[in-house]
Amino acid sequence: MNTHSIFTVTALAAALVGCGTVPQPNAALDRAHASYELLQGDPKAVEFAGPEMTQAREALGAADAARTRGDTLRSVDHFAYLAQQRVAIAREATSAKTWDKAAADAKAGGVGDKAAREVAAARLATQAKGAELAVANAGAQQDKARAAELEMQLKALGSKQTDRGDVITLGDVLFDSNRAELRAGGVRDMGKLVEFMKNHPKRTAMIEGFTDSQGTESGNFDLSTRRAETLRMALIDQGVTADRLRTRGYGEAYPIASNTSAAGRQMNRRVEIILSDENGVSKPR
């Protein structure tokens, strides 16, 4: 019986680990909160759109919960989008009722100051709302969400932003000394890169090999070329199309550390993957 409960706990923990990650900040959700607070500051919204405001608040709560439990970015964005639309609906309800009231006042009291003020206020509310239409923002929001997701993916790959684009440096852990074949664990390490290439089908990659200064210059050039080619073949094996991958060996050129120490030499033995932009354009070295 004891064994039983241990297994259940393990299973639950595994299920949680399987689905969840650490909550990430989410720009779309922050904006939805900001829109809601802006609207809540409008006494007319409270007066005219009580039920809609409640629904917007509940939608925000659901989005917050999605982020807290570590949903995927797509899922949190989705709940944030629903919340944003709920806020927009509440805003429309406020505007419509404000206009209705202005119309009623105009009919009842002629062209009194009050009716004129109501109409002016309603027009202002409609204009202010028009300036930040939720759906007009939705496109920009999705762009931002995509950019944030891309940034996270690149960060996971250990990439650095350079003037040539995003550059991923793979150390010599992928290869044994003076060998061009990938180590057993090397292929697995490339999983994230393969995934990235699949998620961004328009991007191309330039694979550049480098060595330290030990050995002959021509031997190093050859080795660096073969290492870059090995990586290319491994990526192709995992489903990245060949025309998106180019290789080049530089031998011992472009060292990033001193070749006089073992640590420096290790840093120089590397493969750099330069990712193009979304349109497949990359800068030559």
Binding site: T3, H4, F7, T8, T10, A11, L12, A14, A15, L16, G18, C19, R74, S75, H78, Y81, L82, Q85, R86, A88, I89, E92, A93, S95, A96, K97, W99, D100, A102, A103, A104, A106, K107, G110, V111, A115, A116, V119, A122, R123, T126, A134, V135, A136, A138
Partner: protein, 115 residues
């Protein structure tokens, strides 16, 4: 004891699968989205809120496609978004109509005629 182990293992595998993968077809959500999109079109929302109406229509179509492809997670997301887009389109139309009515009422009042 060994059998119990196996049973527990099977149970935990099921639990994990249930936690992550199995999502039923979002029949209800797609139906609600379709109702919202249809009623927006009938009410004339496309003329007042073309963007929202188009988004709602496109997302509904994408949701139906995702259902056909058995991608129920995506289908549910799209259907839910489509429904709210359609509802927002109708609300925008109501605002536009109320605004027009208010303008006319005020004009009628200022010229002394009846609306």
């Amino acid at each position: 004891m060994r059998l119990m182990h196996l049973t527990c293992l099977a149970a935990s595998t099921l639990l994990i699968a249930a936690g992550c993968a199995s999502t039923p077809p979002p029949t209800e959500q797609v139906a609600s989205a379709k109702a919202a999109v249809d009623s927006a079109a009938v009410d004339g929302a496309p003329a007042y809120a073309p963007t929202e109406t188009r988004l709602a229509t496109e997302k509904l179509a994408a949701a139906q496609k995702a259902v056909a492809a058995k991608d129920y997670v995506l289908a549910k997301l799209l259907a839910e978004e489509s429904q709210l887009d359609a509802q927002l389109a109708v609300r925008k139309m109501q605002t536009a109509k109320s605004s027009k009515a208010a303008d006319e009422a005020r004009k009628a009042a200022s010229t002394g005629g009846t609306p």
